[in-house]
Symmetry: C2
Subunit: 395 residues, 2 copies
């Protein structure tokens, strides 16, 4: 018997990164390919205490089915934190707990996208968003990122021409580029969006991880109402817990809840209770501060090693937070070819290819610095520099 799969499955690529991970299974390989938080930052003992406590105090309650929306005190905690950090007034009923913010993307696709709807991404854009939205077979458009945010001139033209249903962004320490939208850029972006019906999706998995400069308010602060924000505990508590959230006004939330219920009834309730207990019993600011200090060292180490070893014609971003930086090779040099050369030197990264929906930026690639020691970063960048020199010389 031959299975006839749904048409949408022809539009979705298996993650390129999954394929790359095969190369990195070799323990001699220094991998800058993944997007993993540094496990030394995970609060193992505190999570253990929190798990014991919720089971001791609440017994079987925390093992039962729960509501689709999520655990109310956790939703209230998230709402309160928006107010505390940015003065943003959000109600708990505007928060839906999801299985990581990745599920937020699937649910948003479900409730907003008809086949061939126009949607807008950043260029380069987060590949998980490209995957999630591809399932709903939209027509992708993209707008270039500059050093201080989105290209607003190009944005306005694209909005005018295609009237896209949504614009998906990662304004803080973007994945893959590492760039951050300046306050000025956010205001300009908002004032343009306020003229259109396009919904801004503001995904912020790394926002708490700023180690240089000052926090900038979400774009939502300057928007009238066409906003959906996504957040996650993956980078500040634990990714294994798969706890993220969608923040949207009630009109959208109502549809998202229906879609979430059809998708999996509700998110893991035990983990919601454990993470809430952890957040309540510990100094999360202090915990985040430690992660920032750790990542700042790793980022500085990589930025310095790049300056020291890479040929001067290679450009790279200098992130103020988050987990990634972005490298641009001279025109005409393929990062896919570089990947093969570098693999022989036992160093890996993610070629730019999967971060583009239309024309590919073949001469770009992404480096992660959070999951390697400083020694490995120095050694890995040195090897990568050798590979780059080799591929430039054989051009």
């Amino acid at each position: 018997m031959s299975i006839k799969f749904a048409d949408r499955m022809n539009k979705v690529q298996k993650s390129f990164i999954r394929e790359i991970l095969k190369v990195t299974e070799n323990h001699e390989v220094i991998s800058f390919a993944g997007g993993l938080p540094n496990p030394v930052s995970f609060p193992v003992e505190e999570i253990k205490k929190a798990a014991q406590k919720v089971l001791d105090e609440n017994g079987s309650d925390v093992l039962q089915y729960s509501t689709t929306e999520g655990y109310l005190p956790l939703r209230q905690y998230i709402a309160d934190r928006y107010y505390k950090r940015f003065g943003l007034k959000v109600n708990a009923d505007e928060i839906l707990i999801t299985n990581g913010s990745q599920q937020g993307l699937d649910l948003i696709g479900k409730v907003l996208l008809n086949k061939e709807d126009d949607i807008l991404l950043e260029r380069p854009g987060y590949l998980g968003a490209i995957q999630a939205f591809s399932i709903f077979e939209p027509t992708f458009h993209s707008v270039t990122l500059k050093d201080d945010g989105v290209d607003t001139e190009l944005l306005e033209k694209t909005l005018e021409k295609y009237k896209p249903k949504l614009f998906y962004t990662v304004p803080n320490f973007q994945n893959p580029s590492g760039i951050t939208y300046s306050e000025e850029n956010r205001k300009a972006l908002a004032s343009i969006l306020n003229k259109y019906d396009t919904v801004l999706i503001e995904d912020d998995p790394y926002g708490e991880l700023r180690f240089i400069g000052e926090d900038v308010p979400p774009v939502r602060t300057y928007l009238h109402d066409n906003s959906i924000m996504l957040g996650s505990f993956s980078k500040i508590v634990s990714p294994a817990m798969r706890l993220g959230w969608i923040c949207a006004k009630v009109e959208i939330m109502d549809k998202l809840i229906t879609a979430k219920q059809a998708a999996d009834l509700h998110s893991n309730y035990f983990s919601q209770r454990v993470v809430y207990q952890y957040l309540t019993d510990n100094d999360i600011e202090d915990h985040i501060k430690k992660i920032r200090e750790l990542y700042k060292k790793q980022r500085n180490c990589m930025v310095n090693a790049i300056e020291k070893y890479f040929p001067s014609e290679i450009k790279s971003t200098k992130p103020e937070g988050g987990m990634f930086l972005w490298v641009t090779l001279p025109e005409g040099i393929s990062s896919l070819d570089l990947f093969d050369v570098a693999a022989k030197q036992n160093v890996a990264f993610v070629p730019g290819d999967p971060f583009y929906t239309g024309d590919k930026g073949i001469n770009t690639f992404r480096l992660n610095y959070t999951n390697s020691s400083e020694e490995m970063i120095e050694e890995g960048i040195k090897r990568l520099a050798e590979s780059i020199k080799q591929i430039i010389s054989t051009r």
Copy 2:
């Protein structure tokens, strides 16, 4: 700004049960409406020990990102259990860990269903499946359930006429009807399906909970290859953990993994490790035996109370396992009307309405017996009997 939602959201109803739960928030109401396992069956202390152990022994590993497929030893455990219980040979790479079996339905819909594809459900059918598949806008057909399984004559006609892409079934202690397909019925069903390309979805959340008679092998045992099985730890360990699985051959699995990755990267890894540790360190057979004994008492109590109090013209099923039984009122009496009458007597159930996709069986309703004490069951059925008599007399 007005949001233009995707067309598919017009096809999906919010769960009727969610609305009903509002009635049951009143603590004086005896509710047979939910589908909750009895929380006294949850292994609270054992889960606590398992959580401690995985964190003590594996530290930050269990808090990190993991693979889309799920924790390999847990997948192997599931595969081994199919062999142990039924002699079914399944490989771990044919198992995908999902967020409860509900997510299995969403992923199957994603990879198989184009808009307006014909699909087949049981009549009455599981409302969670109706919700999950509705998202993909198929054309629903249904085949009547008899006391010993599916109406095979009607099935063959429907397969011949519509060539449906899939047939979704719950052969053990079906939700909502409580009926079980006999071995003979399974063989007949399989021999019909073997002539068509229709994929059998065999959902089995309650299969371990048989308290009368002997286990019957899955329909898959008699099928050539067009089979997907779904399973869940929700009813034998804890629903809060949201751990279910899909068992499918590798050709389908490959697409399911791509869809799962786009949907949420992977299922909660901490809970996978905790549940696997729990399964390894405890006698699961003994645990399941206790749940069966508990539910058998509750089921017998409800069946006896129905015989004692309900007017003799009311028909109801006598489940051999699982969590539900199904009541049929005399023709022309609406269970929606009965719901209002019963609510005034402080007793609740789920009217049949949401379990049908086409013509409604307006005179049917579902009762759950696993989440009420024997005293509550006796009292609740007594009240319900009064409500039924009242509505029959005012006809």
